[in-house]
């Protein structure tokens, strides 16, 4: 009996404590978490603005850069950081370059706490959504207006259209460093062997598919996580065919965006190719790396739509005699309304400078260093990809056929380049993937996929909690 009583009173004590446990943090969090952090900003002060120090980096200040560690690594920023540290005209600065593959997850607490780094490469699958941080970023026009380390005005040294992918609501906030060309890639040696010619519009694909089938090959193949590269191909092709008529409704989430005749015509052809058995089935259950190796190593399919990172990505898994080349995505037919050579080319790897970082001038100075001819050429040579700085790739493309064809495509296109931003902007890729997997597997008709993609677009447009950005 005694024991039992003791246990009851102990239980009462615990009960009281538990009640406190439930009530206390509730009150505390309600009061505190509504506004986590704050403060921060402007820690380093500013130095004197001179021609050699255009942003006024304070002497002996520290620069904190966080770089996405993806296909291009982080060493290119590290070597630019060394150049910057050795730059005597800045009066000695120290640069800390850290790498991560989870930009959003890692930097979230620093943004909320008002203590973001001075320079961020906001790239990769876990990058921070633009509409969430737009108001917290510095505009970077002054970087392009300044002179590079060799003394030329930076904006004069760049490819056309490099500002477009980093401009939101008219504010240029992200400097995309690496030039990416979207195209359809193939083995020129395989084409030569078989006497195939490169298609010039979607109308040519069926014949090529037939020829491929005769050789026991497919025309296209895909992997589950990269199914939307076919969406990229379809959308880009439609923009090449019909220009802003297609692009602007898609970018601004129009209610009829996916019903444009150019998109519909291309989808019909793609559906026909799938139904004719020219697209390798089973992609929905295949990892994209494995699928890409089936194209580059086993050469089971002739063509693969992708960005120009594909060469670097598949470097170790490409057949020996595979001379990789690319051509721009194809118009629907011969009557394209855009100038010949128009293509999707956009600068990728967006670098941003948060406004309330401790040393935003230092972040900009590091960018300026990276845009100097020396750093840009070193990047192109090491990564076999051009930066946004022109004339850094020699005629032999450092021995890479794919890099040569990228340079050729960019030269042909000139200023006629465009980009599609809204899919990434609103984080739509994850929801589009199952739809495209299903379509490529032949389980959806053109009407089905149009309705499904339009449904996604409509859902975002009608969701008032998502900040929309008008794209021009």
């Amino acid at each position: 009996m005694e024991l039992k009583e003791a246990s009851i009173s102990r239980r009462n004590l615990l009960r009281g404590a538990a009640t406190a446990a439930l009530l206390l943090p509730f009150g505390a969090t309600l009061a505190s978490c509504a506004a986590p952090g704050g403060g921060g900003g402007g820690g380093a002060g500013t130095g004197k603005v001179t021609a050699d120090n255009p942003f006024g980096v304070a002497a002996n200040s520290k620069v904190d850069a966080v770089i996405f560690d993806g296909g291009y690594g982080v060493d290119y920023v590290e070597s630019a950081a060394k150049i910057m540290e050795a730059n005597k005209k800045l009066g000695g600065v120290s640069v800390k370059v850290s790498s991560t593959q989870k930009i959003a997850t890692e930097l979230q607490p620093r943004f909320v706490g008002g203590n973001p780094p001075d320079l961020i490469d906001n790239s990769g699958a876990n990058s921070i959504g633009w509409n969430t941080i737009l108001s917290q970023l510095e505009t970077l026009d002054d970087v392009l207006d300044s002179n590079n380390l060799e003394g030329t005005k930076i904006s004069d040294t760049l490819f056309g259209g490099v500002k477009a992918p980093g401009t939101f609501d008219g504010k240029f906030v992200a400097l995309n460093y690496v030039m990416t060309v979207y195209g359809i890639w193939y083995s020129s040696s395989l084409f030569e062997e078989n006497g195939w010619t490169v298609p010039t519009s979607w109308q040519d694909l069926k014949a090529l598919g037939e020829a491929a089938k005769a050789k026991g090959k497919y025309l296209f193949l895909w992997g589950q996580e990269a199914a939307t590269s076919y969406q990229t191909m379809v959308v880009d092709s439609a923009v090449i065919q019909a220009g802003d008529d297609v692009r602007l409704p898609l970018e601004n989430l129009d209610a009829k965006a996916w019903s444009h005749p150019a998109i519909q015509g291309i989808l019909e052809i793609l559906y026909d190719l799938i139904k004719s058995g020219y697209v390798k089935p089973g992609g929905a259950g295949t990892k994209f790396t494995e699928a890409q190796a089936q194209w580059s190593l086993k050469q089971e399919a002739l063509l693969y739509p992708s960005g120009s990172w594909i060469e670097n990505e598949m470097k170790k898994q490409t057949a020996d005699n595979f001379k990789m080349k690319g051509f721009a995505e194809l118009p629907l037919d011969g009557s394209q309304t855009t100038p010949k050579g128009t293509m999707r080319a956009e600068a990728g790897e967006p670098f941003i400078v948060p406004s309330n970082a401790k040393n935003p001038a230092g972040g900009k100075e590091l960018l300026r260093t990276m845009l100097s001819k020396e750093s840009a050429t070193a990047f192109a040579k090491a990564k076999l990809a051009p930066t946004i700085v022109k004339d850094t790739v020699p005629a032999d493309g450092f021995g890479s056929t794919a890099l040569v064809s990228q340079s050729e495509l960019l030269a042909t296109a000139g200023d006629n380049v465009f980009t599609i931003k809204s899919f990434n902007l609103y984080g739509m890729n994850g929801d589009q993937l199952p739809i495209w997997n299903s379509f490529l597997e032949g389980k959806m008709t053109v009407a089905d996929i149009t309705a499904a993609l339009q449904g996604l677009t409509d859902k975002i447009r009608e969701d008032s909690s998502i900040t929309k950005i008008e794209i021009k």
Binding site: A35, Q136, G282, G285, S465
Partner: protein, 338 residues
């Protein structure tokens, strides 16, 4: 404290002395117990400290998540607007979320049932399923089986996921083996087809989990006196009858605990499902995957927190259902130990 500094007269000093004397005369009490140093330090170390840690690191984040669930927080700014229950209303109108919830419920029903049934069968075989003459013992070589079936549990879940996604791939091991025995699967994409993806995923989870619960049940069965089994055998009970009528009722508590553990795992299932089905197809998407993408792809942390709250409530409900079922099927006769 501040009072005594501003009002430093002799009167207040005497008052302090008096109260101190009174304190010495009448020891402070809590619930009829003297507040000795031993008792207070005991409370401090064994109750207040763990409680504080629990409050700060467990209850605190919970409460915070519940609060965030009622805001439109984007995750990257200190500003947020209170939107009350809007997020929950949106969730229950979102077909993808409802689909994900349905898939989680399928997992929570099937995975524990299949895993624990297999685990119980294996455990019985290894402990009492041996020859029907002589001492009650397991099958020949049972210790070997026990070790082998524990292997999958030693491998991290993410590795299991990657391993099996390679086995299931169209040109993978499974189709190859089926081809060897004469079944041409025509490079079937097991995880790519909506009819097989869920079943294939469930198989992987069960494969990874059976070993652990088998070992758990073996330990429980070893706690049952061998005489019980001998008596059952003398009465002519076969292996199946022994398992259902003797083993199961006697290890009821272990089964209930196992059911709740594995159920919680099935309601989460993030690692397995994300590794096996990186594309969020409607037939396999689970709440935790959708939550992750809402937070870190679409940056709707408020909405994602609401999903977390719903997931937590479903988990609690699941545990409650398991308790009720156990009680209703006869657990109460056990003296209410559950």
């Amino acid at each position: 404290m501040t009072l005594s500094t501003t009002d430093g007269g002799p009167g207040s000093a005497t008052a302090a002395v008096i109260s101190a004397k009174a304190g010495r005369r009448k020891p402070l009490r809590l619930g009829g117990r003297k507040l000795t140093f031993d008792f207070v330090s005991f409370l401090l170390v064994f109750l207040i400290l763990p409680l504080a840690i629990f409050l700060i690191f467990v209850i605190g984040p919970f409460a915070q998540a519940v609060y965030y669930a009622m805001t439109d927080w984007t995750g990257f700014s200190p500003d947020m607007k209170f939107v009350a229950l809007d997020n929950f209303v949106r969730l229950f109108k979102d077909p993808t979320f409802l689909r994900a919830m349905g898939n989680n419920i399928i997992l929570a029903v099937i995975v524990p049932l299949v895993t624990l049934t297999i685990a119980l069968i294996f455990a019985s075989m290894i402990t009492i399923g041996g020859p029907s003459g002589g001492q009650v013992r397991g099958l020949k070589g049972s210790s070997f089986y026990r070790i082998v079936s524990f292997f999958p549990y030693v491998i991290p879940a993410i590795v299991i996921g990657i391993l099996w996604s390679m086995i299931y791939t169209p040109s993978g091991l499974l189709n190859g083996l089926l081809g060897l025995i004469g079944i041409d699967t025509n490079n079937f994409a097991w995880l790519g087809d909506e009819n097989t993806a869920m079943g294939a995923s469930i198989f992987v989870i069960v494969w990874g989990m059976v070993g652990f619960y088998m070992v758990l049940f073996i330990a429980a069965i070893k706690g049952v006196p061998a005489e019980t089994y001998e008596a059952a055998r003398l009465d002519g009970a076969g292996r199946f009858r022994t398992t259902v009528s003797i083993t199961l009722p006697l290890i009821r508590d272990n089964v209930q605990t196992a059911y709740i553990y594995i159920g919680i795992m099935a309601l989460d299932a993030f690692v397995y499902m994300a590794a096996l089905n990186p594309v969020r197809n409607p037939s396999t998407v689970v709440m935790s995957q959708y939550l992750y993408s809402t937070a870190f792809e679409k940056f709707q942390f408020g909405l994602a927190s609401a999903m977390g709250v719903v997931l937590a409530v479903i988990t609690l409900l699941f545990a409650a259902v398991v308790f009720v079922v156990n009680w209703a099927t006869g657990g109460r006769k056990d003296g209410g130990r559950a």
